[in-house]
Amino acid sequence: MDATSHRFRDNARHALANGRLKESLASFTKTFPEKRQKVIDRLPEFDALRDEGVRIKNHVLANLDFYLERFEAKATAAGAQIHWCRDAAEARETVLSICRAAGARTVTKSKSMIGEEIAINEFLESNGVRPVETDLGEYIIQVRGESPSHILVPAIHLKGPDIAQTFREKHTALPPGRALDEPEAILREARTVLRGEFLAADVGLTGANMLVAETGSIVVVTNEGNADLVMSLPKVHVAVASLEKVVPTLEDAATILRLLARSATGQDITAYTTFATGPKRPGDPDGPDEFHIVLLDNGRTAMLGGEFRDMLRCIRCGACLNHCPVYAGIGGHAYGWVYSGPMGSVLTPSLLGAHQADDLPNASTFCGKCEQVCPMRIPLPTMMRHLRERQFTTGGPAAKGRGALKVWAFFARRPALYRRATALAIGALAFLGGGRGRFRRLPLTSAWTGPRDLPAPQGRTFQALWAERRRRKP
């Protein structure tokens, strides 16, 4: 997808004006945190498991070359073909050449953030290969020509009637008078249409939630079961995964699985968790003849060596989105690229380049909720602050108020001068307030007084009053 992260402000304004989105987000940002809390309350060891998850990921990241090589060796031994790709363009070409070699016309896909990151759909399409999303939400937005607004619930911004309308326009072979009022009816229709696609596809494309170095397996989780049909029906399976997805052992994978669904959807575990190791074996009645794994860097090694390494612990659960009050206001599209919410505010500048996403790390109140719920304890606000620090020297929204900030700091660093200057300014402001208690508008303060009144100061500074009190009773 083309990134619009640089238009964040416009995107956000647009989203805020969308009443239907507001409704969807209100229900969603209430439901998911409640479900997560409920399921965590049943697991007293949750925080200890988080610590273990952090330890596992930190260990892998510190020894990433070792575990990648071990993974490669085991996966290759099981018959998988590994393709190392430096960037999105290499990954796209690799996937396309696999499709061409297979004579593929249709590719079924299960939801993959890496697939979105490398914009594989547009690329395959422009090269004569038809990609079909099979995750229900992804399918809906694919036929609408949109992009996901949430990593778990891609069509969270839509309502049933929107989807019904889309299906009527898209599925023209079906009777026009059919009922599509109930979500169940929409689901049945999608199932029927996609069943045909599953069976007809030549290549199946999935992501991978983890790569297991011990066995050379990929781990894929879904609730719909679509990834399993994508993996087992076509004759070729391609999994795209970024480097940091590797974990040492099956036991380590188990630990992370205990965190993933609980943090994501508030389930103990997703309905389907699949460990896939190489292609079809002798005697197997089903499974793909070829199994390809695309290992993608696309900016990860750069993050690994810098102050954003912690971000590579991310397991894409979406908890930071689900709990973010900014995301709750503007939804995922405003962030302008694949990754939204707090994780997107760190990942997008890191992967696309800071100037493609200048606003993102600034559009946070640092309320800290994201770090509080992150199963991998990623210090998201700290990393957003790092990005702001870079902008402060190189330019960007963080530097925008630099002049005013510098003037304020000039005074704040000179306490005696500060006391005199603030006493005067506050006295003047209180005088302007004229006992009304607040301002509806005031010159130069429209950013404050646009949405809210400005309470008037009481009139004297505490410092001045305290000095008086000291003089009265030493």
């Binding site: 439901t31 049933g160 979500p183 399993d228 036991e251 103990d268 089903d286 499974g287 860097d297 090694t301």
Partner: protein
């Protein structure tokens, strides 16, 4: 340089990799772990006596919208399948895993049974799990010549046979069983499916719907005995 070499050297540059102090110790520790697998923290709900684990497995799988029936032994499977299909008015056409070929289907039970992988229109899949994991009510189904994976996904109704004795506490316990079976050899099947309840989605307005692409119903037959 190849992309592989480029990426690996970039990783090493970023981490002090390859030549980094303690790297050989990391490799040694990893090999030792593989030789003698060690679990991380296992939550209490993944532990207990067999009786406790059985109760928990049933409760957790039912919480995930699966249904459970107790069956005395393998010979009881046909009647249990028949009961379930009849109770829900489901098609009496079953595609079973070849691993279940020893189950005797009585004449006159009125169910058409055949064996092999699933087709697009297979209404009922009957397969067998090697373990049930109590901590989340999860079934473990490996692929193999006698256990096609498509049976787990294509049919609208999925019935799974699980021996009560195969219920374990945790995910780690399930992996231990694979390793024990393989006795030191390569233990990992092509595919291991962990299945917890039927297929589901909340993609439309967060309303939970069952049977999106995989089965709408998951029914577990718990075999308490081994008779044939």
């Amino acid at each position: 340089m190849s992309a592989r070499d480029d990426i690996l050297s970039a990783v090493r540059l970023a981490t002090g990799g390859g030549a980094a102090l303690g790297r050989s110790a990391v490799a040694r520790a990893f090999d030792e772990r593989l030789a003698k697998p060690t679990a991380n923290l296992i939550p209490e709900r993944g532990k207990g006596t067999p009786a406790e684990l059985l109760v928990r497995f049933i409760a957790e799988s039912e919480a995930a919208a699966a249904t459970v029936a107790r069956v005395a032994g393998r010979s009881g499977i046909p009647a249990a399948v028949a009961d379930y299909l009849a109770a829900h008015g489901l098609p009496r056409r079953v595609r079973a895993a070849p691993a279940l070929k020893d189950v005797p289907w009585p004449e006159g039970i009125g169910i058409a049974v055949d064996y092999g992988k699933a087709d697009a229109d297979t209404p009922v899949g009957l397969s067998c799990a090697v373990s049930g994991i109590a901590e989340t009510g999860t079934l473990v189904l490996p692929s193999g010549p006698a256990t096609p994976t498509t049976l787990n996904y294509l049919p609208d109704v999925h019935i799974v046979v699980l021996e009560t004795a195969s219920i374990v506490g945790s995910y780690e316990d399930a992996w231990s069983r694979f390793r024990e079976e393989a006795a030191g050899g390569d233990f990992m099947p092509r595919t291991v499916n962990w299945i917890t309840g039927p297929s589901r989605s909340a993609d439309i307005e967060l309303i939970l719907l069952l049977g999106v692409h995989g089965p709408r119903r998951l029914h577990i037959l718990l075999l308490d005995g081994q008779d044939a």
